[in-house]
């Protein structure tokens, strides 16, 4: 079984596209529909967490803060995958504990490249 990745995005299309790409690259993917759902999956220990920023219920930044409090997952690098490109938001993400910020549109290969770099 491949490394476990948590992918959090409120868009079903994104979950589908990224889910297929990560699976094809040999990762074991768990998906969540928003920050709250993501936090509820933290019983598992993930190698890395990939997340959208703007989501209902709990947004990406709040979720990162919760992950950093989680004993199982506080070491997992967090990759933000978002349409948001402002330096202000990137700074907020970095301060909360994000490791990488990817601005959409992106190629699934680019995300996999980042994961290989972080977990290789």
């Amino acid at each position: 079984m491949g490394k476990k990745i948590l992918f959090v995005d409120d868009s079903a299309s994104m979950r589908q596209v990224v889910g297929i790409a990560l699976k094809n690259a040999g990762y074991d993917v768990t998906t969540a529909v928003d920050g709250q759902d993501g936090v509820s999956k933290l019983g598992d220990r993930f190698a890395a967490i990939v997340s959208d920023l703007n989501m209902p219920n709990m947004n990406g930044i709040e979720m990162i803060k919760a992950i950093k409090q989680d004993a199982n997952n506080k070491f997992a690098p967090i990759i933000m995958l978002t349409t948001e490109s402002s330096d202000e938001m990137k700074k907020q993400g970095q301060a909360a504990g994000a490791k990488v910020w990817i601005v959409k549109p992106f190629k699934p290969d680019q995300l996999i490249g980042v994961l290989k770099k972080l977990l290789g």
Binding site: V17, S85, P105
Partner: protein
């Protein structure tokens, strides 16, 4: 950076519509906007698609106006159905930005409804059905997102002018059967050239 992701509506796109007695925002190809008031959105479509999406409870909603890039660098047609094709990435972005902004302003995903327009066979100079590809894409996207389509006026050979009032969900549609010039086609052509060269790969920052 793709034009679609850094759109700002310019002053000259805002006007008072005398007939509808409303502040109105005129969207051009590649634009999108979301409003939470009584204002109206208007756009003119040829092969392009406009998705009008709103939260039926709060009335927060908006419209986009986009076209999938149809050719790769060698002028070969792109296949949008390939899950990670450039065309799909571009279309996904146009839809996601609209939906994200509606949710960002307080809309709820489960309350969203969509009305879709456009996708006419406009370009007399090409044989490929660009409009048809765009229609297929937007329908598939909304199906995946489980957003119901409550109005669908697409395809055909006429351009359309679409007025949309998100607060009420009303749409007024004018079919443009004759034009004195080919402004619509030229504008869409220009936009498609831009889309064909738009950035579809990510900016990545490591902290």
């Amino acid at each position: 950076m793709a034009r679609i992701s850094d759109v700002t509506i310019k002053d000259e796109q805002l006007y008072w519509d005398h007939r509808f007695q409303r502040h109105t925002i005129k969207l051009l190809p590649g634009d999108f906007d979301v409003i939470n008031g009584e204002e109206m959105l208007v756009t003119v479509l040829g092969s392009c698609i406009a998705a009008c999406i709103r939260d039926t409870q709060s009335g927060i909603g908006g419209m986009n106006h986009f076209l999938l890039p149809s050719e790769n660098k060698n002028g070969q047609p792109k296949n949008w159905h390939d899950y990670d094709s450039e065309a799909t990435r571009y279309g996904d972005l146009a839809m996601e930005q609209l939906i994200n902004n509606i949710i960002g302003m307080g809309g709820k995903r489960e309350n969203l409804e969509a009305k879709i327009f456009g996708g006419a066979r406009m370009f007399k100079t090409t044989f490929s059905d660009i409009g048809g590809q765009n229609i297929a894409f937007v329908k598939e996207y909304l199906k995946t997102e489980k957003i119901r389509i409550t109005k669908n006026d697409t395809a055909g050979t006429n351009a359309r002018k679409v007025y949309y009032i998100p607060s009420t969900g009303e749409v007024f549609l004018k079919r443009i059967t004759r034009t004195n010039n080919n402004t619509i086609e030229l504008r869409e052509r220009e936009y498609m050239d831009e889309a064909n060269h738009a950035r579809t790969t990510a900016d990545i920052s490591f902290f």
